[in-house]
Symmetry: C2
Subunit: 307 residues, 2 copies
Amino acid sequence: MLAGGVGAARFLRGLITSTDPASLTIIVNTADDDRFFGLAVSPDLDTIVYTLAGLAPRGRGWGLAGDRFECLAALGRLYGGCGWFRLGDRDLATHIYRTDRLAAGAALSTVTAEISRAFGVTARVLPMSDQPVRTVLGTDRGRLSFQRYLVAEGARPVVRTLRYRGAARARPAPGVLRAIREARAVIIAPSNPFLSIGPILAVPGVRAALTARRGPVAAISPLVRGRAVTGPLARLLRRFGHPVSSVGIARCYRPFLDMLVIDRRDRDDAAALERDGCRAIVTDTVFSTARRAARAAQTLLMALEIS
Amino acid sequence: MLAGGVGAARFLRGLITSTDPASLTIIVNTADDDRFFGLAVSPDLDTIVYTLAGLAPRGRGWGLAGDRFECLAALGRLYGGCGWFRLGDRDLATHIYRTDRLAAGAALSTVTAEISRAFGVTARVLPMSDQPVRTVLGTDRGRLSFQRYLVAEGARPVVRTLRYRGAARARPAPGVLRAIREARAVIIAPSNPFLSIGPILAVPGVRAALTARRGPVAAISPLVRGRAVTGPLARLLRRFGHPVSSVGIARCYRPFLDMLVIDRRDRDDAAALERDGCRAIVTDTVFSTARRAARAAQTLLMALEIS
């Protein structure tokens, strides 16, 4: 699976009830990684690991369920505010550990494997790259990092340009290309194609590996009736000249996409998708509960002839 | 005041009720500083700042009152144990801030001033030096850092040698020598002369400044009837050839000590002290409450002709 954060996690909650998590390799966007208070934070990696560990909260797409914010409040007093990025007390341990290990010279992929193991996660979670890649958005309010755009500015600024800084010099993390080549199926999570999956595809070698593989590549559309289930996707599709629909999503993943999971309410898109050479799998894609996600996952796994 | 951690803090609780904290400069031992989980921890500086802020717990000599240990528990899971050094959730914010600022190139004295300000502390708290100095104990269980000796090993190993690594190359932090020269009185806190005050005296220039100043230098004995109020002092005095008594303490601070505050139960030591050229101030030196510490502080300030 290629995954971002929240959207991917919602689908994953269902997928892991339908298949052995140990059979999964999840290649995660790291272009939203950032430093807060000097600590190395990898929001998407953590969301995926916490979700796989069953410790992600139900109501929100980040952090650990039931976490408190004592340390963050104290940091706010020391830094004079600056609390726009929320880090819970137990969540902070992950960032302290990651920062410590990276400073000691460990690769992000090694550290991620260690964190996964500590959380009892059996799926293999890989960062897309051990080299830093950063999504930089050119907006009407200036150049913004992804976290600042999404969290501090509430995704309100108008995006004009999108750049994955460092991507050209990055290498896929160990295991990424092999997993793409050898997996029975590649699933692209219902994440934002520009902000979450785009950075993974921008790592040299990833797009070629997807195009070269013989087994199927499936994506789950993060749109329902032209609206993103989470985040600022519709405006980005429009900005970058794609239809704001499942068809637009499929075009983001041309030429390697074989099938797209779309919502029942978008079933009329199926014909257009098929014309583009992409098979449409129609189901319910609003993964408000793990059970709904599980149903969609089962439908997809059947289409992929895996279950 | 020259200060270590716990012992100094107990006396300080009383001193600040007897004199304006803004008139105090506290020069603090940093030879117990250490890294835990990659974070820069300065136990004595924090104990002093938290005490001055009125946020130190009553029952123990470290951390913040009412602090929780959610993050530490999570760190323990990531590091596979290693919880012998206790760091609370709000306390951790101080270490995260310090680590971040030091990594950005700020001096420890600058960071300490920032932390003091954030905690509303009006006294000037100075690290003894901006350069790292580390107490290393040669023991029957090998070479140990101070924290490992005291906290992990419960001060049980037999100490053979004591070294303040880095002291010869260290410089007094900005303001340290001037404060020693210009203060109306220098007070040496009831801290361990070897483990807490020794490192401060080992910073080049400090001992000379104390010897050269004209105003009084007073110390409070950390011993009552040959027993340390806190910590492993008696064995260290014996090991380094001093009497295990107020007289031994006074000899640690020769030749610059003018007066020593001793407990009523040690009043028989007064004559020997006077023979050594040191005036004895007899009072109650078990600072189990802030009120007891205040009484001793008032007695000392009167002897120093400050109040």
